[in-house]
Symmetry: C2
Subunit: 354 residues, 2 copies
């Protein structure tokens, strides 16, 4: 495979020395970029962008071309490809989030759920290979998946970001059914991420977008436990190099100590946590990725620089920090403000790596 | 004033000895009760329930009549009465949350904002007096308000529960404008709560429903600071008794140590925090109120009892715990399940107060 020219991101995830703090942005290929909006128009829909390796490659590379200061690329895809492959019928209603045509509420349907044939997700693995070729070693490529709990919220509720009452009712009244969904999904995610690694993903990230909605003990039982199983089943090395794993539970800042013990190399942080305090809590067990509030990018270059400098100073001296937003970049971000953030990270971070 | 027959709730808030763990439920007068739905139909709308002292008294008493195990009552009202009195035009669109006709985005409008005349909120204070009379000392009456940050999110965004991008952009780009809104609102809330106390509220609670959306340092600057100012300005004693203050930031479990230092007598907890760990973190500075996930009440009496017992055991021996939900009871709760929760609290809590 092509030689990696910039491995700062991979080194930081393994808490190895780097000259500066590497940076990428969650959802960096997204609607805030005019070139992305153009590609999406050409593809016809968001789902077509995901399902066409050509389009996925095109938009994955766009932020890299615009921002030479980015230290990582991430596969352009959606977390819901896995439940879609399970036959639930993913669709996007205009102006709304993702939805499923069928939901898993009936015991008979839950009993019938199986790990999907990975061949039905070949378009994802083809995209990974094609992106790796197109990158030609510029920066590493991150593969990703949703966590079993997060995928299950969509599978049971039919949509995301609600009060999760249907799935929580199942969690408390019929935990056996929910555990069956989570178990099958964890097996599917493990196979899915390993196939991404085989196709060329050089790091993997598990997005637990809705884990923060759970009670503390329920988080351990219904989300963290399954992420631990996935991590244990992941290919550790490929192309002669360790494939680092990042686990990110949005709203999970109270549970970092537990997250640090599941075998991940790095934890994602949202903006509610002080990254310096987080570092003290997890010690040298994991690297940390984060954690600027994406809303800051709506303000001014001066305010952005101040906030970036504050996060870097809070993390302090030493390695093991990957700078990122605490959640996906919003579509209202002026592209010049994203650039201001990237420049501020580079300018202010060298002093902490001396 | 009428003699208080059950002061368990007030004693627990002050961390004084009680025979059992007192309990009430956020939004206990709500749509899950058929008698409430009947009153709401008779009143014509939610807002009419709030604005009529007769109706407000009627629905405030309903859960007390149904559940003799409740240890507190709470004024039936809405947190948005204050911005409504500021002239923003509160309304409820059918099937949606509260909205405002006018929002505070323009600097000229923000400069014109003033503390409203408390006479425009007389209907609230009348309701407090009338409820106190109707209670006839059965249990204490809690008054409440939204926090300045939470009220400001509605005032600037026009609605709640969004991604808060408009107000956060203001926070980072024009903090001076947001501080002006928060300062005026904090003055209004202080006067509002003091008038509730003068009318008979025996404890007060500040609901910071959206503080958890802020970055850690922004929470201190834009939310906690103003709650501290309010607490410092509250009437401390009335009717010869201390009026305890409860502060509740939903999603604020990471910041309990800071919350414990603002002069509140008790902190509300949502379900993401282990209450035993929270107790260790705040020590003997404050009592704790919480923290069952309201979704548990959608399950079975057996599951409810198990979860209640777990929370009581986690808090452990000693006083200073008020049992509650971690957020408002949902409209889908079977009333018998709420009763199962109340019974479980009484049954399981005595052992910790021996």
């Amino acid at each position: 495979m092509n030689q990696l020219k910039n491995d700062t991101f991979l080194r930081a995830l393994m808490r190895q020395p780097t000259d500066y703090t590497p940076v990428w942005m969650m959802r960096q290929a997204g609607r805030y970029l005019p070139e992305y909006r153009e590609s999406r128009k050409n593809a016809g829909s968001f789902l077509q962008l995901c399902k066409s390796p050509d389009f996925a490659t095109e938009v994955t590379l766009q932020p890299l071309d615009r921002y030479p200061l980015l230290d990582a690329s991430i596969l352009f895809s959606d977390i819901l490809t896995v439940p879609d492959a399970m036959g639930l019928g993913l669709y996007f209603a205009e102006g709304e989030g993702p939805k499923f045509e069928r939901t898993l509420c009936e015991e008979t349907d839950i009993r019938k759920l199986t790990v999907p044939d990975m061949a039905s997700l070949q378009y994802v693995f083809d995209a990974v290979s094609q992106i790796r070729n197109a990158l030609d070693g510029r920066v590493p490529l991150i593969g990703f998946s949703g966590s079993p709990w997060t995928l299950a919220t969509y599978m049971v509720e039919g949509k995301g970001g609600t009060d999760f009452l249907t799935i929580k009712k199942m969690a408390y009244a019929r935990p056996d059914l929910l555990h069956r969904i989570l178990d099958i999904t964890a097996q599917a995610v493990t196979a899915y991420l390993n196939a991404q690694i085989a196709a060329g993903a050089q790091a993997v990230m598990i997005f637990d977008s809705w884990g923060g909605a759970l009670a503390h003990h329920a988080y351990r039982e219904f989300s963290l436990q399954y992420m631990e199983k996935i991590v244990a089943g992941l290919t550790r090395e490929n192309e002669g190099r360790i494939v680092p794993r990042i686990v990110f539970t949005k709203g999970g800042g109270l549970w970092l100590e537990a997250q640090a013990g599941i075998g991940a190399d790095a934890l994602g942080l949202d903006w509610t946590v002080d990254i310096g305090e987080a570092r003290k809590r997890v010690g040298d067990r994991v690297a940390l990725q984060g954690n600027l509030d994406p809303a800051v990018l709506l303000s001014t270059p001066e305010a952005i620089e101040k906030e970036v400098a504050g996060i870097l100073a809070s993390y302090g001296h030493g390695h093991g920090h990957v700078f990122n937003l605490g959640h996906g970049i919003t579509q209202w971000t002026p592209p010049a403000n994203a650039e201001a953030m990237l420049a501020a990270v580079r300018t202010h971070s060298s002093q902490y790596h001396a």
